[in-house]
């Protein structure tokens, strides 16, 4: 038993015009720029790479975004369903379903139950609030998103765990008077639940669900705070034992044969951070965050976490734990350091492909990690570190 590793790519379409020719890569970039054949070829190889990760002994993760070439995965239940049949052993993590941007939680419950059946219980179901850019393409209200997210989660979980015929749901946001989904999930009582966050203040609720909390590219400082908040709540609930298995982190990870090869791969992964050119109105819509934070954005004082990490150097990103890159020994050392700095965690998501990184290079990164790093992480066991 060692750390659970998930391989992940956003399935990008990187063949774009020069960034200075468009105001925003998200929402307004015409899809006429996409060649359907290139997109189909990309999907062939991305699916194959997830398959190879499975064969190498890793788990897989998929997510969804909308109206953007940075992520061609616009409907995560579809890609997860494909992976349910293409992979054999991997846990399939969806992180996640943007519940607040979808208007039918019962349908999400059905989709997840289907994938769980198709994979014979290999599904981990993540829920996300949804990024600010996707308010516009989903025409979702940026107000009361957390309230919608959690009402939706409650409805989904009830749909999974009710087995005695229809139940009624007439909440503030969602209305369903005859809920009785077929099929129900394969895993009983329900598939494991994950939620991503960036702030300690939202952790208490995640811990109350006994869900796994995940942070993405947040670095060790922010992640340590989130994990500490989770541990604190888990202790209050008497769930301290094995709490590391409920903590997850996603970084950009490339493992080469040498440090130079690893760093070269990492530079290609930075496309993910550098290509996210988004105009202010899409990046900071009103009501998505506190108005005072948006006021700072309007004044040009602070433009969000994404803008900050986009301007950082590779060295800085490695130092703060956004990027893990180098030889197997170096990557192992970076993970050990991160593990110490955040007080331990049991799940690591490797964003191992981005931008123009080709198939061979992606596969080499996956295999080198699986063969040379993963076997040496066994000492990072649940409970090995107590913060």
């Amino acid at each position: 038993m060692t750390m659970n590793i998930y391989y992940f790519t956003e399935a990008p379409y990187p063949h774009l015009p020069p960034a200075e020719t468009y105001p925003s890569v998200r929402n307004s970039l015409p899809n006429g720029l996409m060649d359907p054949d290139i997109a189909a070829d990309l999907w062939d190889r991305y699916l194959l790479e997830w398959q190879i990760a499975d064969e190498a002994g890793l788990n897989v993760m998929v997510n969804e975004h909308h109206s953007t070439p940075t992520c061609l995965n616009s409907t995560v239940p579809v890609s997860a369903a494909v992976l349910a049949r293409l992979t054999k052993n991997a846990r399939i993590l969806i992180l996640g379903n943007p519940v607040a941007n979808r208007n039918d939680p019962v349908r999400i419950a059905e989709e997840m139950a289907m994938i769980d059946i198709l994979s014979r219980g290999r599904l981990d179901v993540g829920f996300v609030r949804g990024v600010p850019f996707e308010i516009a393409p989903t025409n979702s209200a940026p107000t009361m998103m957390s309230e919608r997210l959690y009402e939706g989660i409650d409805l989904i979980r009830k749909a999974w765990t009710s087995h005695d015929g229809p139940f009624n749901w007439e909440g503030r946001f969602y209305h369903s008077r005859q809920v009785n989904i077929w099929p129900r999930p394969y895993q009983q009582p329900a598939p494991p639940m994950w939620v991503s966050t960036t702030t300690p203040s939202s952790v208490r609720r995640i811990a109350d669900y006994d869900a796994t909390v995940a942070t993405f590219m947040l670095g060790h400082e922010g992640t340590a705070k989130v994990f500490a908040a989770y541990r604190e709540r888990a202790a209050e609930l008497g769930r301290s034992e094995g709490v590391e298995s409920k903590l997850a982190y996603c970084g950009l990870v490339y493992t080469g044969k040498t440090d130079a090869e690893g760093l070269e791969g990492a530079r290609k992964l930075l496309w993910y951070l550098k290509s996210n050119k988004v105009t202010f109105e899409y990046a900071q819509p009103p009501a998505y965050g506190p108005y005072a934070a948006r006021a700072e954005g309007l004044r040009g004082v602070y433009n969000g976490f994404e803008t900050k990490i986009r301007s950082m150097s590779l060295e800085g990103l490695i130092d703060n734990g956004t990027v893990f890159a180098g030889s197997p020994e170096t990557v192992r050392g970076q993970i050990e350091r991160f593990y110490e700095l955040v007080g331990g965690y049991g799940n690591m998501i490797l964003m191992g492909q981005a931008g123009f990184m080709g198939h061979d290079e992606t596969v080499a990164g996956i295999r080198t990690f699986a063969d040379k790093v993963l076997p040496n992480l066994a000492h990072l066991q649940a409970g090995a570190v107590h913060a």
Binding site: T143, E281, P285, A292, L298
Partner: protein, 274 residues
Amino acid sequence: MLTLIDEGSGTQLRDDAVVDMTVTGSGPPLLLLHGVEGTAADSEFVSALSADFTVYAPSHPGFGLSPRPNWCDSVDDLAYLYLDWMRAQGLDEVTLVGLQFGGWVAAEIAIRDSSRLSRLVLVDSVGVKVGGREERDIADVFAMPRTELDERMFATPHGRRGDLRLADPDAVLHIARNEEALAVYGWEPYLHNPRLSRWLARVDTPTTVIWGEQDGIVTPDYGRRLAALIPGAAFETVADAGHCAQIDQPSAVAQLITHDKGFLATRGLIAAER
């Protein structure tokens, strides 16, 4: 963060809905419902009106310094709050003036209960869908650059917000909070109530619809079509005025209200029209 008013310093509309309200001038009552610009930005217009009216200028819950109770998240809620407040105050013969978003609120008030109203004035109001499903009746204020928004909102430089990096931080906090509230009340359906166009026929209060000729958010044509939905409504345009006509041309818009024949007649200044 802004320091909001509370039960002690604010005006209770009803229950826990407490708002920041200024009362200025003397004369018959005028309830002024602001738009996303916020009441503070309408000060010149309020001054112009207060020569002839007692102007009640609240900040809607969520705007300005008014807190917003969690339950208060629709224009319906705002309409009922102001109806209840007018009743509680015993106000009668009220001139109800709605500016932009506030025009939508005013229209929702008027179709529900006009018994305390003597007149309805809508200035560059949103609130109705007049075109087809693929026509963008109301420019998407949440999806355009600030410079474009500024130009569509204001026809004259003095109203424009300009480069917010150089603006007073408190003013920017107000802008951010007002836009947040606009999103709460008007995200979807976008700044309109699909049912409102049907029920505007119920309005039995003399109505004037006033429009900035350069309104870049809702065009004068939208205004004409809105006016056509209200029985007997007059339609007036204001030159050199954008969406916030009351900020671009405060005196001209105020004069259309204070010199309106219906108003002058109620004050005995001219003979009532037959």
